[in-house]
C-alpha cells in the first residue's frame, strides 16, 4: 500500500499527526511514572519514560522541520472490522462456551468471511471442513499430547 505522507485537506500532515500521537503517548507514559508515594519503585520506568519523551519530541521536531517523519500506511478498517469483532467475541466466549467450541466458531467465521469464493455452499463447506480439521488437530496436540487444561464452558 502507498504511504500517506502528503498534506491532508484539514491542515496537518498524516505523518505529523502520527508524530504527535507518539509524543502524547510518551507523555502519558511519563505521567504514569510520576506522583507515587514510593518513587524508588518507579525510578527505572521514569528514566525510560524521560528518554522516550525526548526521542518522541525529537521525532516530532524532525517531522515539523520536514527532516523526515512517519510514513503512514492506510489501514483498511472496513476490511479488518469483522476480524477485530471476531477476536473480541472469541476472547469473551472462551470461558463462557469453552475453548474448543469458541475456537471452532472463530476459525469457521474467519475462513468463511474472508473466503474469496462467492458461492455460499462452497464457502460454507470448505470453512466447516477446515475449522473441524484444524480444531481436531489442536485437540490432539494440546489436550491429548500436552495435557493442557482448557476452559470448559457450556461445551468443550
Amino acid at each position: 500500500m502507498k504511504p500517506v505522507s502528503s498534506p491532508a485537506h484539514t491542515g496537518l500532515k498524516h505523518s505529523t499527526r502520527a508524530a504527535i500521537a507518539v509524543f502524547l503517548f510518551a507523555g502519558f507514559l511519563l505521567w504514569l511514572c510520576t506522583g507515587h508515594e514510593n518513587p524508588e519503585v518507579y525510578l527505572f520506568p521514569f528514566m525510560v519514560s524521560i528518554a522516550l519523551f525526548a526521542l518522541s519530541a525529537l521525532a516530532l521536531g524532525r517531522d515539523l522541520m520536514g527532516l523526515g517523519g512517519h510514513d503512514v500506511q492506510p489501514v483498511p478498517m472496513l476490511r479488518l472490522l469483522p476480524m477485530l469483532v471476531i477476536i473480541v467475541a472469541y476472547v469473551l466466549a472462551i470461558e463462557l462456551v469453552g475453548m474448543y467450541s469458541s475456537s471452532l466458531l472463530a476459525l469457521f467465521l474467519i475462513v468463511f468471511i474472508y473466503h474469496p469464493s462467492e458461492q455460499l455452499m462452497s464457502r460454507l463447506s470448505s470453512s466447516a471442513l477446515i475449522a473441524a480439521g484444524f480444531i481436531g488437530l489442536m485437540y490432539v496436540l494440546f489436550s491429548i499430547l500436552l495435557k493442557v487444561q482448557t476452559p470448559r464452558g457450556w461445551f468443550l
Partner: protein
C-alpha cells in the same frame, strides 16, 4: 573438544526423533509464507513446557535452523519470501524458477545453507567458551551496558529509522516494567487484573509477531487469492552439489558475511543475506546477470542466512544478548527452562548446552537431506490461501499463549499487544526492537538497581557505571552503534534525494 563428548546424546531415540520432527516441521513452517522463523520458534515455545530442557532446546534449535532455509522455498517458487531472511534469495531464485529451473534453485539453496550453517555452528562451538570466560568479568554495571548495547543495535536495525527503533525499544523496556519492581518487589502499573504479575514474555512475543501478520494477511483484498506457480524440472542433486562447491567466491562471501553479521547482537538473517548478495554482485565479473536468475545470488544469500544462525547464538549463550530477533525468542525458551546465559551454561548445564549445540550441527545435515527430499512437494504448502493461514495462526496463537500458564489474561494481553503493533507498524515501527526491549528490560532494570545499590556503598553511581575498561568499551560501542546508524540513515536519505534529482545518473 567438549562438544564431541555429548555428540552421542543427539542420537538417543527421543532426541533424534525430536530433531527430525523439528527439522521437517521447521522446513514446512519456513516454507509457509507469513510464518517467520521468529514466529515459528515463538509459537513452539509453549509446546516445550512439558519437555525436559535438552529436548526442548533441540526442538527450538532445529526449528530455528530449518525455518531459515525453508523460507527460501516459497520465495523461489512463488516470489513470497517465507521469512525476512530469504528476501535476498528471491532476487535470483524466483527468476530461476520462472526459467523452469526451480528444482535447481532449491538444490543450491539447501546445499549452500548446509555449508554456511555448518561453518556457522563450528564458529559457535569454538568461540562460545572463550566468550563465556569473559562473561565472568561482567558485573551489574557491565551487564547494564551490555543490555543497553543490545537495544541500541536492534533499535538501529529494526525499522530503518534510528529514532523509531529507539522509541520502539524504549516502549518495550517500559512494558517490561509492568507488574513488579524486580528488586524491591512492589507492584506497579497493574491497572487491570490481567496485568497483575506483568506481561508474560511469550504472550508478548506471540502477540507482537503473529497478530500483525494475521491482520496483514487479511487486510489485502487478495487475501484468499491464488498464487502463481511454476513447473518443477528434474535436476540431478549430484550436479547441484558439484556446481555449488565450485562457487567458492559466493560461498565464502556468504559464509563470512553471515558469521560476522550473526555475531553482532541485533543484526539478522535478512541483513546477512542482503549484505552477502550485494557483495557477491559487486565483486562479480558480470554483475548484470544478477536479478535475472544467477545461481551465485541464491548461493550467497542462503549460505549467509544460515551461517548467521550459529554465531547469533554466541552473544546469546554467553552474555544473554540475542544476535537476531529469533535468537531473542530462543532466549525466552532458555529462561523458561531455567537456563540463564553465561558461564553456568558451560559448567553447571554443560550437558544440556553442548547437546543443544551438537544438535544444531546434526540439524544442518538433516535440514539439507529433508530439504532436498521435500523440495519437490513443497509447492503444496505454498498453496495455503492467506485467509486460511490467518485463521489457523490466530487459533494457534491463542492455544499457544493460553498453555503457557493456563491464563486467559495472557491471551487478552497477547491480542492487545498484537493489534496495537499492527497499527503502530502502519506508521513505520517494527516489532523487533520492541520485543528486544521487552526481553532486555528486566535484565537492564535488575542490573541497574543492583548496580545502584553497590554504587551507593562505593564511590557513587557515576564512577561505578562510567569507569572501568569494559564499561567504557561498552559505552563506546553503544555510541558507535547509534552513530553508525544515524550516519547510514543520512547516507541513505542523501542517496534517495540524489536519485530523485538525477534519476538518469542513478539508473546508469
Amino acid at each position: 573438544m567438549e562438544f564431541l563428548q555429548y555428540f552421542g546424546e543427539v542420537f538417543t531415540l527421543t532426541h533424534f526423533m525430536i530433531l527430525v520432527g523439528g527439522t521437517v516441521g521447521g522446513l514446512i513452517l519456513g516454507a509457509t509464507p507469513g510464518l517467520s522463523p521468529t514466529m515459528a520458534v515463538a509459537l513452539l515455545i509453549p509446546f516445550t513446557f512439558q519437555m525436559e530442557p535438552t529436548a526442548s532446546l533441540i526442538l527450538l534449535g532445529a526449528v530455528y535452523t530449518s525455518t531459515v532455509a525453508g523460507g527460501a522455498v516459497s520465495g523461489i517458487l512463488v516470489n513470497i519470501p517465507g521469512a525476512p531472511a530469504n528476501i535476498a534469495t528471491v532476487m535470483d531464485g524466483h527468476p530461476m524458477a520462472k526459467q523452469g529451473r526451480a528444482t535447481e534453485a532449491l538444490h543450491y539453496c539447501f546445499i549452500s545453507s548446509l555449508i554456511g550453517g555448518v561453518i556457522g555452528v563450528f564458529l559457535l562451538i569454538f568461540f562460545t567458551p572463550p566468550l563465556a570466560d569473559l562473561a565472568l568479568k561482567f558485573g551489574p554495571a557491565e551487564l547494564f551496558w551490555v543490555s543497553i548495547f543490545g537495544v541500541t543495535i536492534i533499535a538501529s536495525l529494526g525499522g530503518g529509522s534510528v529514532i523509531k527503533g529507539l522509541i520502539a525499544g524504549a516502549v518495550g523496556i517500559w512494558i517490561s516494567t509492568i507488574g513488579y519492581n524486580p528488586v524491591l518487589g512492589e507492584e506497579r502499573f497493574a491497572f487491570s487484573e490481567h496485568l497483575t504479575g506483568g506481561v508474560h514474555i511469550i504472550a508478548a512475543l506471540i502477540g507482537l509477531f503473529a497478530i500483525p501478520q494475521v491482520l496483514t494477511l487479511l487486510d489485502s483484498k487478495t487475501a484468499g487469492g491464488g498464487v502463481e506457480m511454476n513447473a518443477m524440472e528434474n535436476h540431478s542433486i549430484w550436479q547441484s552439489f558439484k556446481y555449488t562447491l565450485s562457487r567458492v567466491r559466493a560461498l565464502t562471501i556468504g559464509t563470512v558475511t553471515g558469521s560476522i553479521v550473526g555475531i553482532i547482537p541485533g543484526a539478522g538473517g535478512q541483513i546477512a543475506g542482503l549484505v552477502a548478495y550485494d557483495q557477491t554482485r559487486k565483486t562479480s565479473k558480470d554483475s548484470s546477470r544478477f536479478g535475472k536468475g544467477e545461481p551465485d545470488g541464491v548461493i550467497a544469500a542462503e549460505s549467509a542466512n544460515n551461517a548467521m544462525v550459529g554465531p547469533s547464538l554466541v552473544p546469546l549463550l554467553t552474555l544473554g544478548i540475542p544476535g537476531s530477533p529469533t535468537a531473542a525468542v530462543l532466549l525466552g525458551g532458555l529462561l523458561i527452562n531455567g537456563l540463564f546465559p553465561g558461564p553456568d551454561l558451560f559448567t553447571v548445564h554443560s550437558a544440556v548446552t553442548w547437546t543443544f549445540i551438537d544438535s544444531l550441527l546434526v540439524g544442518q545435515v538433516l535440514m539439507m537431506v529433508f530439504g532436498l527430499s521435500i523440495s519437490r512437494y513443497s509447492r503444496f504448502v505454498t498453496r495455503i490461501p492467506n485467509h486460511v493461514m490467518a485463521a489457523a495462526v490466530t487459533i494457534l496463537a491463542v492455544f499457544g499463549t493460553y498453555s503457557v500458564q493456563n491464563s486467559l489474561s495472557d491471551v487478552i494481553v497477547m491480542f492487545t499487544l498484537g493489534i496495537g503493533m499492527y497499527f503502530i507498524a502502519k506508521i513505520g515501527f517494527s516489532p523487533a526492537p520492541l520485543v528486544l526491549g521487552l526481553i532486555l528490560g528486566q535484565l537492564t532494570e535488575t542490573n541497574f538497581l543492583q548496580g545502584s545499590m553497590i554504587a551507593d556503598s562505593m564511590d557513587g553511581p557515576w564512577v561505578y557505571f562510567f569507569s572501568g575498561t569494559i564499561n567504557l568499551i561498552l559505552i563506546a560501542l553503544c555510541v558507535l552503534s547509534i552513530g553508525f546508524s544515524i550516519y547510514s540513515e543520512m547516507r541513505e536519505n542523501r542517496r534517495r534525494a540524489q536519485a530523485v534529482t538525477h534519476p538518469n545518473e542513478e539508473a546508469a
